[in-house]
Symmetry: none
């Protein structure tokens, strides 16, 4: 059963997200009432991912099914449902920390959330159309431009007047959006190139699936921990 | 498998409602005890919808079933069970915000809830009888008149003496009832006309199903966010 490890990774994703959701839920009440939304967002994001990983592990028939690469491919819809809901929420969560750093700017979050939705929808359309076709390439280019726009906007924010801990949090969270988020287009690109080249892609799809799980945990749970840490300091709790 | 996206939309509806329910549940305790019912209603509404979407996604055999348009049609009962329970609760939730705006009027909520029940019951009877038959048309007309009555009543409310944030919330929530709710009769009307015209309606039913999901999320989760936001400000929490 060569897909055993990939199947187990989906289970890992499920427990990691469930653990994250419970964690953020418990920490929530220690924050000042005005800052609790940080934990609300983090909890909801991990909870949504937990539900979707729960279904994905069934789709790949964890723990006992014998599957082929098709089963892993069938998780694509679930992954995009996750991203459609959670990536806007991640950006809104980021917006609260930006406000904490004294740099809230009218319309910024709205603009990057719209770009984010464009990124996800065009990414999905690209991923489900013919590999290498001109239309597919155009869709991926639009998706990537939308992501670059988000990066451009969040690096333009002037946080130099905020409290040190909030500045630090914003800087770390920016890196998540650049480096942590980059994992997804890179994995998708590699998969697409292998498909166009006619390679046996079972291995590539499997490796990509495992990488997505790790990236998801980092970008949701890791991101949430950084945000809540900053909210804690602002709430007068020093760890 | 051409119905893949429609099937995925039902899953999307499920997670979105589950996320909304958890969200409102968490925010509830931050409100003043007198205002917590706003969050109670919002939570219960999203929770009921989550349960029904959970079943609907099974009815359309998400994630792996091969279905025809019939499967999507089989969600009609579930949709109306949802509406029968949640639309009265939405109007009661609205009533609390109206009271916050200092415009509670005896009997108003009772009257619009009764109109709402008439709207849903006649709508269901119309939807399940022969397309284009005179009786069907009469049922849809009664259903629509009931909705117009609700709109008439909620626009007659004089909120001019309430606090600004509550006035704003009432104004936004009115728009949900006019524009957000209009999506349902419009989608139903289009579906009926296509059926009468003998068109191949698989596509129309599919598109309508997706639109219903988006409308439901907006009208339940979006509506709840506006209401809770107003209740938060009234509770002295400024974000
Ligand atoms: C640019 C680009 C993409 C970007 C995806 C991203 C950036 C996803 C982020 C997901 C996150 C952060 C998940 C939650 O934890 C796609 C859609 C793969 C398609 C190819 C182009
Ligand atoms: C007027 C009219 C209708 C109205 C339906 C409405 C207004 C439904 C609202 C549902 C909501 C708000 C759901 C919860 O989120 C029907 C029954 C389609 C039948 C045709 C006439």
């Amino acid at each position: 059963m060569e897909f055993q490890i990939v199947q187990a990774f989906f289970m890992l994703g499920f427990v990691a997200m469930a653990a994250g959701a419970l964690w953020f839920f418990m920490e929530r009440n220690d924050l000042k009432p005005e800052l609790r939304p940080v934990a609300t967002y983090a909890t909801v994001i991990a909870f949504v991912a937990a539900i979707l990983y729960y279904v994905m592990k069934d789709v790949v028939q964890f723990p006992l099914g014998e599957i082929g690469v098709e089963a892993i491919r069938n998780t694509v819809e679930l992954r995009y449902i996750d991203w459609l809901i959670t990536t806007p929420l991640l950006l809104i969560e980021f917006g609260i920390i930006v406000a904490l750093a004294g740099a809230a700017k009218k319309g910024l979050i709205t603009r990057i959330v719209i770009a984010d939705l464009i990124m996800i929808v065009t990414g999905y359309l690209g991923e489900t159309s013919e590999p290498g076709a001109p239309g597919t390439v155009v869709l991926f280019v639009i998706s990537s431009l939308a992501w670059f726009y988000i990066i451009y906007e969040i690096f333009r924010i002037d946080i130099s007047n905020g409290p040190a801990h909030a500045q630090r949090a914003v800087k770390i969270m920016r890196l998540f959006v650049v480096i942590g988020w980059a994992i997804y287009p890179i994995a998708t690109a590699i998969e697409q190139f292998l498909q166009i080249g006619g390679a046996d892609i079972a291995l590539a799809v499997s490796i990509a699936a495992c990488i997505y799980v790790v990236a998801d945990v980092v970008n949701k749970v890791g991101f949430g921990i950084v945000a809540i840490q900053a909210a804690k300091v602002s709430s007068g709790i020093h760890e």
